[in-house]
Structure formats: structure tokens, C-alpha cells
């Protein structure tokens, strides 16, 4: 993550975090992020091929703002082979399932396991049951998902990208869960990069880059 400071009185600090959305195809990952970022909803969105990218800021308090850089990934099983590129170095993940599709909940659990095994050990994971406007077709009881989330140490929220219910709350809850210890993170520094890797320090990585460029200029 990286931090930028505003100037003058009443300035706020902005913390950047990389967030990845994972989950079965057609559970509403893109709809969720479009609701969050643009406050829009379309009944049918084009399937995501590869991944889409968004940014959005969430004010946490008077002095603090979190900026999410969001990778919205394709859901089909075979696009899973590209997923590590997106969750590698992500500081937070939103794993989405569709409350009307039991199989999508099972798929969400496998994503959680993969993240806990392969991603950054400190990654903040939120489990999200989307489409909770379709209560008559509910197939996954909220209590069951909540119990699983508690057991696995995840944030849990049911949302509706269609009505907008709980979408803002979800991202705000994630923002509040992020480590906003400016002392610690301002020492870490680092740049905003697509893979979100926190560099040991700004100076080091700049030095490395210019050295490499120097070697190349032959």
C-alpha cells in the first residue's frame, strides 16, 4: 500500500489498498463493484473476460481515506488459471457467492482456502452473499454463511448489487479492517503498482530501477 498526504490544515491521509474480487461466474462480482464505484446497475452485464479494474475511495474518518484499487476477475473455472496474478500481493479480497446458488457458496469456500494458502498471510477477506433481494429463491441460509465466515475468520455481509443494499457498508467495513497504522506504513512506503507489491522502500526500488536502466543503456 502507499500513503499520500494532503497539504494544509485539515488534510487527510489516503491509504491505497489492492482488492481482488473472486467467485463463481454470474454471482454478481462486476455488478457489485459497479454499484460501489458508479452506483449503477444493469440487469445484464457483459461477462468479464480476463479481468476489469476499478478504483474507488472510502472515507474512514475525518483524517483518513482509503483508496481501493479493485481487480474484478472472470468467474469461469478455467479463468482460475489467471487468478494468482490478481490476488498475489492483494491486501484484501472479496469472495462473492449468490445466495440462490448453493454451488456458488461451495466455490466461495474453495476460493477462501486458496487465498489462505497462497495469498499474503495478512490478507483481509470478506465473504459476500450477493442477490439478497431474491429472498424467495434463497438456497444458502445467512446463518450458515455467517457461521462459516466466523470459523474461517472472514468478514461477512449479504448484499444486493441490484438494490444497492449493504454494498457501501461492505467496503466501509473492509476499509476499517485494513491496517491504517500510518507510522508503520509510512516507513514501508512503496509505490502504487498493478501487482500491489509493497516495496521495501521507495528509495531502494527507485535506485534499483535506475541501475538496471543504466545497465541497459548499452
Amino acid at each position: 500500500m502507499s500513503i499520500s498526504r494532503g497539504s494544509g490544515a485539515g488534510a487527510t491521509k489516503t491509504f491505497n489498498f489492492k482488492l481482488v474480487l473472486l467467485g463463481e461466474s454470474a454471482v454478481g462480482k462486476s455488478s457489485l463493484v459497479v454499484r460501489f464505484v458508479k452506483d449503477q446497475f444493469d440487469d445484464y452485464r457483459e461477462s468479464t473476460i480476463g479481468a476489469a479494474f476499478f478504483t474507488q475511495v472510502v472515507p474512514v474518518d475525518d483524517q483518513t481515506t482509503v483508496k481501493f484499487e479493485i481487480w474484478d476477475t472472470a468467474g469461469q473455472e478455467r479463468y482460475k488459471s489467471l487468478a494468482p496474478m490478481y490476488y498475489r500481493n492483494a491486501q484484501c479480497a472479496v469472495v462473492v457467492f449468490d445466495i440462490t446458488q448453493e454451488a456458488s457458496f461451495e466455490k466461495a469456500k474453495t476460493w477462501v482456502k486458496e487465498l489462505q494458502r497462497q495469498a499474503d498471510p495478512d490478507i483481509v477477506i470478506a465473504l459476500v452473499g450477493n442477490k439478497n433481494d431474491l429472498t424467495s429463491r434463497r438456497a444458502v441460509p445467512a446463518e450458515e454463511a455467517q457461521a462459516y465466515a466466523d470459523e474461517a475468520g472472514l468478514l461477512f455481509q449479504e448484499t444486493s448489487a441490484k438494490t444497492g443494499a449493504n454494498v457501501g457498508d461492505l467496503f466501509k467495513a473492509i476499509a476499517k479492517k485494513m491496517p491504517l497504522d500510518s507510522q508503520k506504513h509510512s516507513q514501508k512506503g512503496g509505490r502504487t503498482s498493478a501487482s500491489g507489491a509493497s516495496r521495501p522502500s521507495v528509495d531502494l526500488s527507485n535506485g534499483g530501477a535506475s541501475n538496471a536502466a543504466g545497465n541497459c543503456a548499452c
Binding site: 454470474a26 469461469q76 478455467r78 489467471l82 530501477a209 545497465n215
Partner: protein
């Protein structure tokens, strides 16, 4: 050159007419919903092709002849009737002809000719495939049908003929080629065929022939080819546009992040439609080499903005994933593509290097021999290969 209005533009099909508020919807020349960002009635849209924009690449003598649509139709018809695809592929005249776009009335015939559809087409097979039992991948296909071209008048209404045809063709293909089954992205290809007024059966055989002839390992479960091609593209970009390659590398942006949808949907999600059809004409003539040429051309068209106005990945990625269509209209795009030179031999060499150390089941493919160099310095992997090998 005459202006032949496409049927989709002037006579809204049954799909659009049946939609309750179809009268309020505006469509562009190609049948796509016009948004506030779309110039709905661009004067050039109604034209069958825009050959004058390409004359700049041709010698004055030859271009005179090529300017005549009658001449171009005659030439393509001659190829279709008398030549083998291989002979046409290497013909310089065909290369020049294709820069004008294949005449609309011959377009899908020419695509089928180059894809060698006749080699696999079997009467009755498509009908037989439709009688097969339901298989699990049907669930995935059905979820995607309403999400394939939801902004096109042929497909936007639930249960429309367009959606049904997509469903039929994709399910038949899943049985026809179980190794591939169905992969997101394939629907974008079938949609293009249906938009060209091909029947479901013709669309099926052209999909099958296209995957067989050009993209045999693109849609397989491990997405092998797109990962190989992205690694090759990374190399090519370094060789072709060093400044931009360095800018993207500095922010850890790799081709898999932006070019996956380019390759998997043959640019249908990235380019304005006038460019899509022109690129497809070229692709059917010359094959997958065109994916690299067009990919590099797209980046060239976007480079000025990326270098001047996108200092971090927060600006680079949204721009790269949604490059404004006016930058990618046929004229600037093909002008850029004509400045990209890639030989088949060089592509083969790079592909060999990328695959020489094996292909992991998932994730990005990196050049094994470069991996240690990468650890020494972030930019080291962008040094020319020979230097890496000799260092």
C-alpha cells in the same frame, strides 16, 4: 464505392421490435445500443467500407484499381472459386485487397474459405449434436447467454432468436469438441457470425473451423495459448516500443492483465466495430500473427496518453482496459499496424523460448533463463534476450 445500408441499421429486426421500449432505443449502424458516448449516426457508418482512408498505404498505380469495389469483388470471387487458401495467403494482392476490408457480401464466404471450413463440414452433424443429452457445461453456457452482447439489438432481449442461436451453437460445439467444451469468449465469436446474418449451422461450422485452424489451444481449460501469447507479446512490446514497455513494467503491468480479452475475444471487446470487422478480415487472411500486430498497434495508439497522463497504475489500467474508441478507429489503428513488423520466424523463435522451460498449469509464464536476471534488477527482464543469455 456505394453506400449499402446494413439491414440491421435500417430495419430493426424482430428482436428489437419486440422489446417494449425498442422505439426509445437508439442503435448504431452495426446494431449496438447507442449510448451518450456513441456518435449514433457517424456519416461514415453507413458506408460499406471506407477505402479512401487506406489508400495512403498503397502505391498510386495499384490503388486506382483497388479503389473500384467492382474490381475488389471480382478479385475475391476469383480467389474463392479458383485458388487454394494457402496460395491466397501469400499473395501480395490479397494483402492489399484486405486493407480495404472484404466486401460485405463476400465477407463470411471469405472467412470460411481461409478457415478451411469445407474440410470439416459434415452434413447432418450439427443437427445430430443438438439431439445430444444435457452436460454440466450447459449450466455455464446458459448463465452467459444473456450476458453476451447485451448491448446489441440481436441479443438484448431475453429469449430472442439471437440468444437462442447463440445457445444452440455453443452447446453443439461443447459436444463437438469435448476437450475445449465451452470457454467464456467463444460467445463473442459466434455473435459476430450471427451479426453477419449467418445461419446457426454456418456459424457453428465457422466457429469449429476457426478454432481448429487458428486457435486450437486458446479455449482449453488451462488457457495455455493465451498465457504463452501474453509472454511473447511482452517481449515484442519491449522490442517494438521500449519507452512504453518500460513504463508498464515499472508499474508491474503485464499483457495478461490487459490483452487477455483482446486475444480471447479477437478484439471484439476493445475496438470500435468498424475496426473489429477489418481486423477479422486480416486475421482470417494471415492468422494469429495479426493478434500481435494489432495488439502492438493498439498500444501505439494509446502510448502518448499513457506516457503523458498516466503516472501510476491507478491511471494506466483504467485507460488501458477502456481505450477511447476514437483512438482505435480503422484509420489510426491500421496506420499504426502498418508500422509494426513481425516475422513469422521471429514469433516462432519467441514462442519457443517462452515454452522451452515448460508451461506451468496456471499463472504467468516467465522466461526461465530470465528469472535470475529479474532478481538482480526489476528491469533486467526487459533487456534483449541475447544479452540475458550471454550475461
Amino acid at each position: 464505392m456505394t453506400s449499402v445500408p446494413a439491414p440491421v441499421a435500417d430495419q430493426p429486426g424482430p428482436t428489437a421490435a419486440a422489446t417494449p421500449n425498442a422505439t426509445q432505443l437508439r442503435f448504431d449502424h452495426y446494431g449496438f445500443l447507442a449510448t451518450e458516448y456513441t456518435p449514433a449516426a457517424h456519416p461514415q457508418d453507413g458506408r460499406d467500407d471506407d477505402s479512401d482512408t487506406f489508400s495512403v498505404f498503397l502505391s498510386p498505380g495499384f490503388s486506382k484499381k483497388l479503389h473500384s469495389e467492382e474490381f475488389r469483388v471480382r478479385k475475391w470471387t476469383e480467389y474463392l472459386n479458383r485458388k487454394a487458401p494457402k496460395a491466397v495467403r501469400t499473395s501480395k494482392t490479397a494483402r492489399k485487397l484486405v486493407t480495404y476490408g472484404i466486401p460485405t457480401q463476400l465477407r463470411t464466404r471469405v472467412w470460411r474459405f481461409f478457415a478451411e471450413e469445407s474440410l470439416i463440414r459434415t452434413p447432418g452433424a450439427f443437427q445430430e449434436l443438438q439431439t445430444r443429452d444435457r452436460i454440466p457445461i450447459y449450466d455455464v453456457i446458459e448463465r452467459d447467454i444473456p450476458r453476451c452482447y447485451p448491448d446489441h439489438q440481436m441479443f438484448l432481449e431475453e429469449g430472442s432468436a439471437g440468444q437462442q442461436h447463440l445457445d444452440t451453437v455453443l452447446k453443439a460445439y461443447a459436444h463437438y469438441n469435448p476437450e475445449v467444451g465451452y470457454c467464456q469468449g467463444m460467445g463473442r465469436l459466434v455473435g459476430v457470425y450471427l451479426m453477419q446474418h449467418m445461419s446457426p449451422e454456418d456459424s457453428f461450422w465457422l466457429l469449429a473451423a476457426t478454432i481448429r485452424s487458428y486457435l486450437p489451444t486458446y479455449y482449453v481449460p488451462t488457457l495455455t495459448q493465451v498465457r504463452i501469447d501474453s509472454a511473447v507479446f511482452d517481449r515484442l512490446l519491449f522490442e517494438h516500443n521500449r519507452k512504453l514497455a518500460d513504463h508498464l513494467a515499472t508499474h508491474d503491468i503485464t499483457p495478461l492483465m490487459y490483452a487477455t480479452s483482446w486475444f480471447m475475444t479477437l478484439f471484439t471487446m476493445a475496438l470500435p466495430w468498424a475496426s473489429v470487422l477489418r481486423v477479422w478480415d486480416w486475421f482470417y487472411l494471415k492468422g494469429t500473427k495479426i493478434l500481435f500486430r494489432i495488439g502492438l498497434a493498439i498500444l501505439d495508439c494509446a502510448a502518448d496518453h499513457l506516457l503523458a497522463h498516466c503516472p501510476t497504475s491507478s491511471e494506466i489500467l483504467p485507460f488501458l482496459l477502456h481505450i477511447p474508441h476514437d483512438l482505435l478507429a480503422p484509420e489510426p489503428l491500421f496506420a499504426a499496424a502498418n508500422r509494426v513488423h513481425i516475422t513469422t520466424g521471429h514469433l516462432e523463435k519467441l514462442t519457443h523460448q517462452v515454452t522451452a522451460h515448460g508451461i506451468p498449469d496456471r499463472g504467468e509464464i516467465e522466461l526461465g533463463s530470465v528469472r535470475s536476471a529479474k532478481e538482480k534488477g526489476r528491469r533486467a527482464r526487459f533487456r534483449p534476450l541475447r544479452k540475458v543469455f550471454h550475461s
